[in-house]
Every structure is written in C-alpha cells, then in structure tokens.
C-alpha cells in the first residue's frame, strides 16, 4: 500500500510523473480560472457595501490562501527531507519557495489596493497584514539561506530547518482575525452554519481558488523537475532523461 509513497522518493520517478501531470494541471487551472473570472467579473452582483471593488476578492483570497499553503508545503517537505533523509523533499521545498513568495507579494499588493477604497489607507499595521508581511520576509530568509552555503546539500538542510521554525507564523496569520480586533474581515468560507457570502459570489471564488491551486501544482511540477535535475545531475538516469 505504501509503494506509491516510496516511489515518490525516487528522483527519476518524480521527474517523469511531474512531466505527465503538468499539462493536465495547467488545463484544469485555465478552465477553472476562466470560469471564475467570467462569472466573478461579469455576472456576480455588486456587493451591497463595497460595490464593484469587492471583485478584488477573486485574486486576493486565492493568492493569500496559496501563500499559506505553499509555506506549509515547504515546511512539511523540508521536515520529511530532514527526518527521513529523502532528498526529493528538499527539491519540493526549493521549488515551492519562490512560487509561494510571489503569491504572498500578490496577496499583499492586491490587499493594499483593496484597502485604499475600503479602509481609506493603502496599509495598516493590523495583525493579519503584519503577519502576512512577516511571512514574506520568512520566504526571503529561507531562499537566501539556501543559496548562502557552498555545499548545496547543507544549504537545503539549513533552509528546511528555518522553514520549520517559521511555520509557527502560519496559524498566527490564519487566526489573527479571531484573536485580535482586526480591520481585516473574518472567516467567510470555512465556517459552520450559513455561509456569510452569497452563493452567486461564492462559486466564482471557489473556482478561482481551485484554479490557483491547480496552477500552483503545475508550476510546482515544472520547478520540481528542474530542482531534481540540479540535485541529481551526476546520476545515471539523468543521461537518458536529458538526451530524450
């Protein structure tokens, strides 16, 4: 039963499987995002309070969710690599980092552009915004630490440790709107009972979320193949793979 898990630890297997997954993930992402954008931009009714500006939600929320997801993935992959010495884990962590950082930046900037008409300011030092900014710094720290070492294996391990130490920030970001009085809106999707958001607004959002997730998967596969290649270029399977 665990054979699929063991196979995932094999670099050539991962290299092949990632190549096959990428086009499907990209296609799925395109379809989901196309639907999400059309429905969200054109057909969803304007918000009672926020008017048309609420449509920024369709890129802001997926970006923010992915920023947290990518960091957690990076920390988990690093932990797996450190504990069980599975080098593919380091490749996954290295692949996830820049993508996650770009989504964090997107979440911060779209949030800022949404904040100006809604709160009257481009930035506020409120817990969620501040901890998301800390997340961006953590991403940069992990990426810088990885390349600072001459021995790439040592850099991978150090970066994995730092990612694990920083993962404590992720629940802080998520729960900051519950724990503190925050300008930022509370949870609207993941909660029990009647959802706080109207159905016609929710479906495009879920579609965009799915689209972003599939896109992340696709880009992760692409970067993962490159990272695996960089770490394994001395191995014999690389010869066949590269000359193909």
């Amino acid at each position: 039963m665990w054979t699929w898990f063991y196979r995932l630890a094999s670099p050539p297997y991962v290299y092949r499987v990632a190549a096959r997954c990428t086009p499907w993930l990209l296609a799925g992402a395109c379809i989901a995002m196309l639907y999400g954008l059309c429905d969200g931009l054109a057909f969803a009714p304007p918000d009672y309070q926020q008017g048309e500006a609420f449509r920024i939600i369709y890129v802001h929320v997926p970006a923010a969710v992915l920023s947290l997801f990518a960091y957690t993935l990076m920390a988990t992959a690093g932990a797996i690599a450190l504990i069980w010495r599975i080098k593919v884990g380091h490749a996954v962590a290295a692949a996830a980092a820049p993508v996650g950082a770009s989504f964090t930046l997107l979440a911060l900037i779209t949030g800022s552009l949404w904040g100006k008409p809604m709160w009257g300011t481009y930035w506020a030092w409120d817990p969620r915004l501040t901890s998301e900014l800390i997340l961006l710094f953590l991403y940069f720290g992990v990426m810088s630490l990885r390349v600072a070492f001459e021995d790439p294996a040592r850099g991978d391990r150090a970066a994995a440790l730092l990612a694990i130490v920083g993962v404590v920030n992720v629940p802080i970001i998520h729960y900051s709107v519950q724990w503190w009085n925050s300008l930022h809106q509370g949870a609207t999707i993941i909660q029990f009972g009647k959802p706080k958001i109207a159905g016609s607004m929710l479906w495009p959002l879920l579609a965009m979320l799915l689209g972003f997730m599939l896109f992340f998967g696709a880009v992760l596969c692409m970067r993962l193949r490159a990272e695996v290649l960089l770490r394994e270029r001395q191995a014999s399977w690389v010869r066949a793979a590269v000359q193909a």
């Binding site: 954008l37 931009l41 054109a42 304007p46 008017g51 048309e52 500006a53 449509r55 920024i56 890129v59 802001h60 970006a63 820049p98 993508v99 770009s102 989504f103 930046l105 997107l106 900037i109 779209t110 552009l113 949404w114 100006k116 008409p117 896109f215 880009v219 692409m222 970067r223 193949r225 490159a226 990272e227 290649l229 960089l230 270029r233 001395q234 690389v238 010869r239 590269v242």
Partner: protein, 75 residues
C-alpha cells in the same frame, strides 16, 4: 455586456484592474521563471555529462597510450 460600465467597475476601476493585471503578471512570471529554471537545469546536466565523458575519454586514451596500443605518446 463588456460595455463601458463594466470597464468602469463602479468607479473603482483604478483599483480593480491593476489587481487583475498584477495577478496575470504573477502567474505569467511563475510560468516563465519555471521554464527558465528547467532550461538552466538541463544545461547544467548536459555540461556535467560532457565533462564526465571527457574525463572518461582522457583516462581511456592515457590507458591505451601507456599500454602501447594506440597513442601519440608512443609512435
């Protein structure tokens, strides 16, 4: 449907459209950057292959030369 009212976004156009444009930019950068990284990785791998082959080739030639089989050293 995509008339002037749509593009105005109820007056919020200068906030909404840059957001979507930036999102598109970030997605595009991710694709481009991933492809670039892969191309560089393939290049590194090919270079490593060439160097390994050159090493093996040089060692082979030296071996053959000292054994008197072929060689510029013993003609």
């Amino acid at each position: 449907m995509m008339g002037p009212e749509f593009w105005r976004m109820g007056g919020y156009a200068r906030y909404v459209w840059p957001c979507f444009g930036l999102a598109l930019g970030v997605l595009g950068w991710n694709l481009w950057s991933a492809r670039r990284l892969h191309a560089r990785a393939v290049l590194h791998a090919e270079r490593a292959l060439l160097m390994a082959r050159a090493d093996a080739g040089a060692r082979g030639a030296e071996l053959m030369a000292t054994n008197g089989l072929v060689g510029s050293k013993r003609s």
